[in-house]
C-alpha cells in the first residue's frame, strides 16, 4: 500500500514538474493519467520494495550520495589523466569481489555505484560477489579495500 | 558564446563516436559508440535549446535519454534471443 502511494506521488510530481500548465482541465488529465499508470503498473507487478525502496530513505542516504560525488570527482580526474597520458598509463585488470549486501536492491545500488565511478565497471552481479573490471590496478585495490561496499550495506540497516 | 563552445565539443565527440562505430572492431564497441552518440545528442539538444532560447526542446532531450537507454537494452536482448545462429561472429568481429 505505501508503495502504491509513493508511486502515485512520484508520478504526480513528475507530471507537475513537466507540465507547467496548472489549469483544471490539464490537472484532471494528469490525475487520470497517474491513476491509469498506477493501475497498469500494478498489473505489471513492478510496484514493490525494489522499485520504491522506501526503507532505504533515511538520513544515511544523502551522506552516501555526497560521499559518492566525492569519489566521482576523484575517479574522473584519474581516468582523464590516463586518457591524456596514453596507453602506457593503464593496467586493466579484473576480479571477483565479495559483497555484503543482503537484498537485491542493495546489490544493485552497489553495482551501479561501481559502474558510475569511472575506472571501474561491474560486469556481473551474483548474490555474494561482483565481477569488476578496472582500468588500473590501483582502482581495483581501492574498491577491494571495501569502503563503498560497507557504506552501501550500511544503507540497508 | 560558451554554449557554442560546448555544442562544438559535443559535435566533435559525436564525430569521434561515429568513428568508433565504424572502426569497431567488435560489435560491443559499436553498441558503446551508439550509446555514447545518444547521450551526447541528449546534451546537444539541451544546450541548443538554450542557444535558441526554446526551453520546450528539453522535452525532446528527455525523450532521447529514454530512447537511448531502451535501444541499448533492445540491442542486447537481440543477442540473447538470437542464440547460436545469430551470435556466431561476436567477439571476433562483425
Amino acid at each position: 500500500m505505501k508503495h502504491t502511494v509513493s508511486v502515485f506521488l512520484l508520478l504526480a510530481s513528475f507530471w507537475l514538474i513537466n507540465s507547467g500548465y496548472y489549469k483544471p482541465l490539464l490537472l484532471s488529465f494528469g490525475l487520470v493519467s497517474a491513476i491509469f499508470v498506477v493501475y497498469l503498473t500494478h498489473r505489471m507487478d513492478v510496484v514493490d520494495h525494489e522499485s520504491h525502496p522506501l526503507h532505504l530513505f533515511n538520513l544515511k542516504l544523502p551522506s552516501y550520495y555526497l560521499w559518492l560525488v566525492g569519489q566521482l570527482i576523484v575517479s574522473n580526474i584519474d581516468v582523464v589523466k590516463r586518457v591524456w597520458s596514453g596507453k602506457g598509463s593503464i593496467s586493466p585488470c579484473t576480479a571477483w569481489l565479495p559483497l555484503s549486501q543482503t537484498s537485491d536492491i542493495g546489490r544493485v545500488i552497489y553495482a551501479n555505484s561501481i559502474t558510475l565511478t569511472p575506472g571501474t565497471v561491474a560486469m556481473d552481479l551474483e548474490d555474494d560477489r561482483v565481477y569488476v573490471h578496472a582500468l588500473s590496478r590501483e582502482g581495483l585495490d581501492d574498491l577491494r579495500a571495501g569502503e563503498m561496499d560497507r557504506r552501501v550495506s550500511n544503507l540497508e540497516r | 558564446m560558451i554554449l557554442t563552445v560546448v555544442a562544438l565539443a559535443l559535435i566533435v565527440v559525436m564525430a569521434m563516436a561515429i568513428a568508433r562505430a565504424f572502426l569497431g572492431p567488435t560489435i560491443y564497441d559499436r553498441i558503446l559508440a551508439v550509446n555514447l552518440f545518444g547521450t551526447k545528442t541528449v546534451l546537444l539538444i539541451a544546450v541548443v535549446s538554450y542557444i535558441a532560447g526554446r526551453p520546450d526542446f528539453l522535452d525532446v532531450a528527455l525523450i532521447y535519454a529514454l530512447i537511448n537507454f531502451i535501444s541499448v537494452i533492445a540491442v542486447l536482448r537481440f543477442f540473447e534471443y538470437g542464440s547460436s545462429k545469430v551470435n556466431d561472429k561476436v567477439g571476433k568481429d562483425a
Partner: protein
C-alpha cells in the same frame, strides 16, 4: 560498403541517422518534427527492425554479381533529387512557395480560430484533420496486416526462458521497475500536452508503447501479454480509429462539416479544443496499441520458429 551486408550494423547506423536528423530538426527550430524523429526514427524503428532481424537472421544472403539495373536506377534517382535540391529556394527565403500558400493564413488566423499555443497541432489535427485521419488508418492497416500474417492460427504456449534470464539480471530488473511507470506517464503527458508544446498523439503513442515494450523485453513476452492481452490490443487498435472517425461524424450530426469541430460546442474555439483532444486521443490509442501489437507479433513469430527448429 562491405559492412552493409551485416544487417545489424545497418540497423544501428539507421538509429544514428535518426538521432542525427533529429538534431538537424532541432537546429531548424522544428521541435515537433524532431520529437517525432526521436520517438520513431531513433526509437521504435530500430526496435522493430531488430525484432525482424531475429526472425530473418543477421546477414544478408551472399550475392555474387553486382546488379546493375537497381544501381543505375538509384544513381539516376539520387541525381534527380540532388538537382531538385539545387532548385529549391534558399533556406528561410520569404518568397519560398511554402511560405506563400496557406501557411500565412494558418499563422495569422489559427490563434483566433483554434486558440491553442502549438500551431503545428492546429494544422495537423484541425485544418488538415483529414490527412491525419488517413495516417491513422495507414497505421491501423499495418497492424491488421501484421496480425493477419503473424498471429494467425491458434496461440502457442508461452516460453519461460526469457523470464529466467532476466531474473538473473538484477540491475536491469530493478532499474526497469523504477523507470517503467515514469515512461508510461511521460507518454500520457506528451499525449495531453500536444496543444501546448511539441508532441501529440503519434509521439505519445510511441512513447507509451516503448514503455510496454521495455516491460516485455525485461520480464518476458508472456508476462507482457498477461498485462495487455492481445485481444484487448486488437480492440484498441480499432477503437482509436473509431474515436477519430466518430468525432467527424458527430460534427455532421450537429450540422457542421466532417472533421470541422467548431460546432461541437456553443463557442467555436471550445469546440475545436474538444475535437482536437478527442482525435489526438484516438491517434494515441491506435498508435500505441498498433506498435505493441506489432512488437508482440514479431516476437511471438520468432519464438514459434525457434521452437520448431528445436
Amino acid at each position: 560498403m562491405v559492412r552493409a551486408r551485416d544487417l545489424f550494423a545497418t540497423v544501428m547506423l539507421s538509429g544514428i541517422y535518426g538521432l542525427l536528423s533529429a538534431s538537424f530538426f532541432i537546429l531548424m527550430d522544428a521541435a515537433d518534427v524532431a520529437f517525432t524523429e526521436a520517438a520513431v526514427g531513433a526509437g521504435i524503428f530500430p526496435l522493430l527492425m531488430l525484432t525482424v532481424l531475429t526472425s530473418v537472421g543477421r546477414y544478408e544472403a551472399e550475392r555474387r554479381r553486382v546488379r546493375y539495373l537497381p544501381l543505375f536506377v538509384m544513381v539516376v534517382l539520387a541525381g534527380a533529387l540532388f538537382a531538385a535540391v539545387l532548385q529549391m529556394p534558399p533556406f528561410g527565403a520569404v518568397d519560398a512557395p511554402s511560405h506563400g500558400h496557406v501557411a500565412q493564413r494558418y499563422i495569422q488566423d489559427s490563434p483566433a480560430e483554434i486558440g491553442i499555443p502549438n500551431m503545428v497541432t492546429s494544422v495537423l489535427a484541425s485544418y488538415r484533420g483529414f490527412d491525419t485521419l488517413g495516417e491513422v488508418v495507414v497505421i491501423f492497416t499495418a497492424a491488421v496486416g501484421v496480425v493477419v500474417i503473424l498471429l494467425g492460427g491458434r496461440p502457442k504456449t508461452p516460453q519461460q526462458s526469457t523470464q529466467a534470464l532476466m531474473a538473473e539480471h538484477k540491475v536491469l530488473r530493478v532499474v526497469g521497475k523504477m523507470l517503467i511507470p515514469l515512461i508510461l506517464l511521460f507518454g500520457l503527458y506528451v499525449q495531453f500536452h500536444g496543444e501546448y508544446g511539441p508532441g501529440g498523439g503519434f509521439q505519445a503513442g510511441v512513447i507509451f508503447a516503448v514503455g510496454i515494450i521495455l516491460y516485455a523485453m525485461l520480464f518476458g513476452l508472456s508476462n507482457a501479454q498477461r498485462v495487455v492481452p492481445l485481444g484487448v490490443l486488437r480492440w484498441l487498435v480499432a477503437l482509436g480509429v473509431l474515436i477519430y472517425g466518430s468525432v467527424g461524424l458527430a460534427n455532421l450530426v450537429v450540422g457542421g462539416e466532417y472533421l470541422n469541430y467548431s460546432m461541437l460546442a456553443s463557442d467555436p474555439v471550445t469546440g475545436q479544443h474538444i475535437g482536437i483532444i478527442l482525435i489526438e486521443l484516438g491517434v494515441g490509442i491506435t498508435v500505441a496499441s498498433a506498435m505493441v501489437l506489432i512488437f508482440f507479433a514479431f516476437t511471438r513469430a520468432t519464438r514459434s520458429r525457434d521452437e520448431l527448429e528445436e
